[in-house]
Structure formats: structure tokens, C-alpha cells
């Protein structure tokens, strides 16, 4: 019996001769087996989010990379869903666009017989997404993303949660995906070290820290760009600012990086 994974279970060619597909009307056994997504292709980098006393700020840069190539510099990765939620998506861009269409469909169907009233709250959208992602990973065909859902929930409290390609979910007053989890999260946690700390954080403080984080990410994440979108969600209001540039950049530190600045060896 053939032991190679591609022809597993077939009679061995070297003993019985080449197997005729016509006998079993089997699909061509010599092509590779069907494969699901095993790596992302065009990708977005970090998404960061932080709660403050009256709401949430979510930010993501506008770069979509093709491998290490900076392929698209104008990709909107923050999507508004309903009246009080922003979904920020990192990872595979085509999967992001698929998820954005799912969310749009969800929103349309939710509003069919529900004219005017707001019924889709942040926690509902997050719950829906977590099920979509877990379902796909359970089919061994994951949607290759890491997602932050930020907004105001049905009790008018700030809401911020994370779900990723494995369907793993968690919440925290400060969250970041991708490289942001290493580079931005420690900075954000300076403002909100404990679950309730966000109640003492003003929007201005949170905003300043988000801008700092985006700058640090641009410094040290090679798949990032110095142009980003920021969404601020408070009760009854979603504000999206597009194409903000990283301000006051200082690249002095680059000189000390081996192979980058003056030190070439």
C-alpha cells in the first residue's frame, strides 16, 4: 500500500503499475490534495484600542503589505458597524473584506424590521464575529485575522474585545493585535493597568497615548506605515479620522541599530 500522504491507500505504483483513475472515477490523484489557507497573503499589521472614561479609541495604520512589500498604502482597516461600534481588522486583507461584507449583511438584515432603533450593540457584533472565526477554524479553514471590536455596549459602557483566527476571545481596557501586542500594549497599559483604570482616563490622554503608540509601531514594525486612521466611539457618536500622519518623528535611535545607520558592520 502506498504510504505517501498524496497517494495514501492506493496500490503501490512500483508493484502494481500506475493506478488508473478511470477505474474508480476518482479525481486526479496526482495533484496535491485540497488545501485551505495556510498563510495570509496581503496583510494589514497591528490594530490598537484603549478604553477611556466615556468610550473607546481604536486605531490602525493604512498599509496592506504583500509579504514584505508595502503593496497598498490606502487600506481602511477600521469599519463602522451599526451606530456605536468599530471593527478593526489586522491580518489577511481579503479575509477582512469578506468579514466586512458579512457585517454589512448583518447590519442590513438587522434593520429590516427595526427601523430607526439601534439594536446591534458592540457586544452583539463581537459575539457574532467570535462565532464566525471559531466556526471557520473548526473547519480547518480559518479566516486569517486578528480583530478588535470597540464601541459602546447596550448599557452605554465602553466595550473593547479581541478575537482572532483561532476564535480565541478576550477583553481588556487596552488591547493590540500583531506587533502591537509587543510594542504598543505595554505603553497603553501605563494608562490602564487595572480593569477599572479606564474610568480615570480622559479622551485626550488616551488619544495622546494612541498617537505615541502608532509612532512607536512605525519606528519598529517593518510592516507599518506612518499614516493611520483613528476611530473614537462615545455614547451616540462615532468619529473616524482618516490619514493621520505620525508627528514629531525622531530617528536618532536608528543610528545605533547595527546594519541600519552609520554602523554597517
Amino acid at each position: 500500500m502506498e504510504q505517501s500522504p498524496i497517494n495514501w491507500g492506493r496500490p503501490r505504483d512500483d508493484i502494481y503499475g500506475h493506478y488508473s483513475d478511470a477505474i474508480s472515477q476518482a479525481p486526479n490523484t496526482h495533484s496535491l490534495p485540497k488545501k485551505h489557507t495556510q498563510q495570509p497573503t496581503v496583510t494589514g499589521s497591528s490594530v490598537i484600542g484603549i478604553k477611556f472614561d466615556k468610550g473607546v479609541i481604536v486605531a490602525a495604520d493604512t498599509l496592506a503589505s504583500y509579504g514584505s512589500l508595502a503593496r497598498f498604502d490606502n487600506m481602511d482597516r477600521l469599519t463602522q458597524v451599526g451606530d456605536s461600534t468599530i471593527v478593526g481588522i489586522g491580518g489577511d486583507v481579503s479575509d477582512m473584506q469578506y468579514v466586512q461584507r458579512l457585517l454589512e449583511e448583518l447590519e442590513i438584515e438587522e434593520n429590516y424590521d427595526n427601523s430607526g432603533d439601534q439594536s446591534l450593540h458592540s457586544e452583539n457584533i463581537f459575539n457574532y464575529l467570535s462565532k464566525v472565526y471559531y466556526n471557520r477554524r473548526s473547519k480547518m479553514d480559518p479566516l486569517w485575522n486578528a480583530v478588535l471590536v470597540g464601541g459602546v455596549d447596550s448599557k452605554d459602557e465602553p466595550f473593547l474585545s479581541h478575537v482572532d483566527l483561532l476564535g480565541v476571545t478576550f477583553s481588556s481596557p487596552a488591547l493590540a493585535t500583531g506587533f502591537g501586542a509587543y510594542l504598543a500594549l505595554p505603553l497603553l497599559r501605563q494608562l490602564v493597568p487595572y480593569p477599572d483604570s479606564y474610568k480615570n482616563v480622559t479622551e485626550a490622554d488616551a488619544r495622546a497615548m494612541v498617537e505615541k503608540c502608532m509612532k512607536v509601531l512605525f519606528y519598529r514594525d517593518a510592516r507599518s506605515i506612518d499614516k493611520y486612521d483613528v476611530a473614537t466611539i462615545t455614547k451616540g457618536n462615532v468619529k473616524i479620522e482618516k490619514d493621520i500622519k505620525c508627528k514629531d518623528q525622531n530617528w536618532r535611535f536608528a543610528e545605533d541599530i547595527r546594519g541600519y545607520g552609520r554602523t554597517t558592520s
Binding site: E107, I108, Y112, D113
Partner: protein
């Protein structure tokens, strides 16, 4: 309808010798007896209004909405057989959804009217079905601005500045013609729509009715179709009551 069908009215899809389809004409009769619905195309949107006769005191006020949303940017209202209308709305929703899944963008309003028009027309072609007993009024805002269409039971449809169907259509049409369409603002159109429904109701004054109004406007609703708020509706009702009582005074 003066002439009698003489046998040519029993089956759908069969012409009479003088070239008429009686089943379609009878369907139009069902529309004429339905409750009044109107729509106004304004500067940057469309306003829908409906006179809903209260058939029982046990019905929950404000429930059983009959102006419905078909996609973000499109609303539908109809006069005639309500279940036929419900079916048309559900068909409209799947048309709008299918368009989105094919083209990855919202359906333009004229394409939407075309789809539902063809669907309505198909129900005049076979003897196994009957035509729709409704006139479908649909409108919305797309890239090219506001659009308003009305589909008749025959499947033919036209674009309108103002459309009316049902019992009070004649009164409503007369009033719609007096308006400066489509240059009126969405807010004014809401008031006028309320007034016209109140006026069109005069002939069946003995019956109680509920007013339903929705709108889709680039400036007022961000291009989304939705019912107006309860406060806004109360305001429109007040305007309508005021305007209709003034008119009565003038006649006296």
C-alpha cells in the same frame, strides 16, 4: 369596469379578443380599494407615507409596520392586498441581497425597480398564478441621487416625482401636483405627506386610521431608509391636523 369578461377573465395570461388581460385589470381593482399610500421625491431623498385603517381596537398601536426597508437605502410601500405586498418586500430583499453578493455594492434604485417590475410582470404570464393585487411604490437614494418608482399589477412601472396608490389616490395626486417637486426639502415633504394622507382620508372619515411615515434622505438620514422618530411623527400629525382644519374653515 364596463365590459364583462365573457369567459376571457377566468384565466390569467389569456387575452380577450379586444386585447385585454382581465385578470390584470381585476388586480388593479384590488389596488384601488386598498388603503392610501403615497411617496414624494424631494431635493435629496424620498418620503413615504401610508394611511393604515385600524381594523380592530385590539391591534397594538404602532405595530404592524407596512412601510418596509429592503436594503439600507431603499424603502417600499404598497396599496392593495397586504400579504401580496409582504411577499413583494421579501422578494425585493433577496433581489437587493443578490445584487450585493454579485457586484459587491448596493443595488441602484432603477435596477431594483427593473428587477421587481420584471417579477411582477411574470405573474401575468402563467395561468397557474394570479397577478399581484398591489401597486408597489419604491424609492431610495443611490449614487445618482433620489429615485421614486411605482409598479402596477401589470408589471409596468414609471419613475415619479410624486406617487399615490389606493383609495385616496385621486385626492393625493391632485395635492402632489400642487407641490414644487422635486425641489421641496425632506422635512417639508414629511409634513406635506402627512397632510395629504389626512386629506385623502376625508372620504372615509368614519374609519379610524394610523399614519405611518418613513424617509430616506442624504442630508437627514445619511442615505439610509428609516421611519421618522415618534416626536417627528407627532409634529407631522399636528401640522396635518392644522392644515386640514384650516382648509375646512375656508370652505365654510
Amino acid at each position: 369596469m364596463s365590459s364583462i369578461g365573457t369567459g376571457y377573465d377566468l384565466s390569467n395570461s389569456v387575452f380577450s379578443p379586444d386585447g385585454r388581460n382581465f385578470q390584470v385589470e381585476y388586480a388593479s381593482k384590488a389596488v384601488e380599494n386598498g388603503s392610501t399610500s403615497i411617496a414624494i421625491k424631494c431635493k435629496d431623498g424620498v418620503v413615504f407615507a401610508l394611511e393604515k385603517i385600524v381594523t380592530s381596537k385590539l391591534l397594538v398601536p404602532g405595530a404592524n409596520q407596512r412601510i418596509q426597508t429592503v436594503d439600507k437605502h431603499i424603502g417600499v410601500v404598497y396599496s392593495g392586498l397586504v400579504p401580496d405586498g409582504r411577499h413583494m418586500v421579501s422578494r425585493g430583499r433577496s433581489e437587493a441581497y443578490n445584487w450585493r453578493s454579485t457586484y459587491k455594492q448596493a443595488i441602484p434604485v432603477d435596477s431594483f425597480a427593473d428587477r421587481l417590475g420584471s417579477y411582477t410582470q411574470a405573474y401575468t404570464l402563467y395561468n397557474s398564478v394570479r397577478p399581484f393585487g398591489i401597486a408597489t411604490i419604491l424609492g431610495g437614494v443611490d449614487e445618482d441621487g433620489p429615485h421614486l418608482f411605482m409598479i402596477e399589477p401589470s408589471g409596468s412601472f414609471w419613475g415619479y416625482h410624486g406617487a399615490a396608490a389606493g383609495k385616496g389616490r385621486q385626492t393625493a395626486k391632485n395635492e402632489l401636483e400642487k407641490l414644487d417637486l422635486p425641489n421641496i426639502s425632506a422635512r417639508d415633504a414629511v409634513n406635506e405627506a402627512a397632510r395629504i394622507i389626512y386629506l385623502a382620508h376625508e372620504d372615509t372619515k368614519d374609519k379610524e386610521f394610523e399614519l405611518e411615515i418613513s424617509w430616506v434622505s442624504a442630508s437627514e438620514t445619511g442615505g439610509k431608509h428609516q421611519h421618522i422618530s415618534a416626536e417627528h411623527l407627532a409634529e407631522a400629525k399636528k401640522f396635518a391636523e392644522q392644515a386640514t382644519s384650516d382648509e375646512d374653515d375656508m370652505e365654510e
